[in-house]
């Protein structure tokens, strides 16, 4: 059984409006990822958090965004090495969790009773959606390549307007891709992905409950490997020690 959160009056009354807002947000964040500005608001954590804030449940955004951000921290999103579409995935999974009024999703603060297995199920869904989105991003870039070739006509007639139009056309396509895809993803997660969760059984739930604990470790491990192990340890241990020390001081 999925435990449901008591939805706020706002979510009940304006679910479709919020869904449209989610599409708008995802479109803008997809642009931010590569096409425009690149302020990193399209990273999984801020993307999920902004979606959570839009739906009035920032704790869900943090819960989805934090482990995703951690596991993707070693990704190098440059040029050909670009992999996945974590923006729409993070936005869609957060919005779907809010729209379905799921309870037990949030960062642990001692007061909240968490459904860790459901949390893991959402993260697994986000990972899969990101990989699916990767194909679409590739296709989009192939289309940009074709339009770039179309722009060669300007090398003959000297028309600058065509080049500007083609470039801005790419901006529009990226926005529309993000907006449309995120709305489709929200509905897919809510109608197909979440209903499967109660049927996974105890063993499946036990495995999923471990995933949110594994992902931050995976990300940190990948970062250590990327930076070179021998150079890393002292700084890493210093950071951990500092955090544990301040945690102890704060706790006492």
């Amino acid at each position: 059984m999925l435990t449901l959160y008591a939805p706020t009056a706002m979510v009940v009354a304006s679910s479709w409006t919020l869904l449209a807002g989610t599409g708008l947000l995802a479109g803008l964040l997809c642009l931010d990822e590569t096409g425009a500005v690149q302020s990193w608001l399209g990273q999984p954590l801020p993307a999920a958090l902004l979606t959570g804030l839009l739906w009035g449940r920032p704790e869900v955004g943090l819960a989805v965004g934090f482990p995703l951000q951690m596991v993707l921290v070693g990704n190098l999103p440059v040029g050909q090495s670009f992999v996945g579409d974590p923006v729409t995935a993070a936005v869609a999974v957060t919005a779907a969790a809010c729209r379905a009024s799921l309870a037990g999703i949030g960062m642990p603060d001692g007061s909240l009773s968490l459904d860790v297995a459901l949390w893991g199920w959402l993260l697994l869904g986000a990972g899969l959606l990101s990989l699916v989105g990767h194909r679409l991003v590739r296709a989009e870039r192939e289309a940009f390549g074709l339009w770039m070739h179309e722009g060669r006509l300007s090398l003959r007639d000297g028309d600058p307007g065509r080049l500007e139009r083609l470039h801005l056309q790419c901006v529009g396509v990226t926005f529309l891709r993000g907006a449309a895809l995120s709305i489709v993803y929200v509905l897919l997660v809510q109608e197909l992905w979440l209903p499967v969760f109660p049927r996974l059984g105890m063993y499946g739930h036990r495995a999923l409950a471990l995933l949110p604990f594994l992902l931050p470790g995976l990300g940190i491990g990948a970062l250590i490997e990327r930076y070179g192990c021998r150079r890393c340890w002292t700084w890493l241990v210093a950071g951990a020690g500092l955090a544990l020390l301040s945690w102890g001081v704060l706790a006492s």
């Binding site: 302020s39 990193w40 958090l49 921290v73 990989l131 390549g145 063993y203 594994l214 490997e225 955090a243």
Partner: protein
């Protein structure tokens, strides 16, 4: 450079990567930026055709540092249009060599340094339950990088060919060194807070799993001889969780 041209270049620079494609990468984006300069010239069709041919080839650089290059190219084009002898090959060499150098610096400084550092600091704030501070971190970065782009345009235009000296500056390597250490300290702090915060959620072997995650994240690239993207690591992680879940159910802990 007058303020209006700088503003137009800046606004277009923000969209440098919008038409990124796998064949010539940012070529259309660079041309889109430089069209702001070209439109000011009121050039005839023949000049425009030659201009487009100069910049339609492969081009790729770091978007945050592209302002140096775009500003420099605008300066060289201005000098050329005012009668200075600027060979076409020189412009191509300037674009390609600077583009590559800034791409390499940008990869180290932004993608491998600042991005992990900043996102880990944001993760730390997320763990501490401060959502608005998370948004604040990225808002500060947005202002910083927009400011850098604005400043670099002016610097590139002011320097022209002399911008090559900027690449020799020890600042870059010091900044990369510092930011990567900052990322590691932040990663350690995230691990520390994570351990402190999640120990209350025992019963699932969560803390041991965190340690397994670190080992797996470090070990997978060594075993597979390639770095896997985070999404694939997540799926492999799910398989590992299945095995661990089974082991935990067997031991009954």
């Amino acid at each position: 450079m007058d303020m209006l041209l700088r503003l137009r270049l800046f606004l277009r620079l923000i969209l440098l990567q919008a038409s990124w494609n796998s064949q010539r990468m940012q070529n259309l984006g660079l041309l889109y930026c430089l069209l702001a300069w070209l439109r000011r010239q009121g050039a005839d069709a023949d000049f425009r055709r030659r201009f487009f041919r100069r910049y339609y080839g492969f081009f790729n650089t770091n978007p945050y540092l592209a302002g140096f290059l775009v500003g420099g190219l605008a300066r060289l084009e201005t000098e050329g249009s005012e009668g200075a002898d600027i060979p076409r090959q020189l412009l191509a060499t300037y674009r390609d060599s600077l583009g590559r150098a800034f791409a390499s610096l940008g990869d180290q400084l932004f993608w491998l340094g600042l991005r992990p550092a900043l996102t880990l600091v944001a993760c730390l704030l997320a763990l501490m339950g401060k959502p608005m501070a998370v948004v604040g971190v990225f808002a500060v970065f947005m202002l910083f990088q927009l400011g850098l782009r604005w400043w670099s345009l002016g610097y590139g235009f002011g320097s022209g060919m002399d911008i090559l000296g900027l690449l020799d500056h020890p600042f870059w390597h010091k900044a990369i060194w510092f930011i990567k250490r900052l990322a590691l300290v932040a990663a350690g702090a995230v691990a520390g807070v994570f351990l402190g915060k999640f120990q209350g959620l025992g019963g699932t072997g969560g803390l041991s799993v965190f340690g397994v995650g670190i080992g797996l994240g470090m070990g997978m690239p060594l075993v597979l001889r390639r770095r896997l993207p985070g999404e694939v690591m997540l799926l492999i992680g799910m398989v590992v969780c299945g095995v661990l879940g089974f082991a935990i159910s067997l031991t009954g802990s």
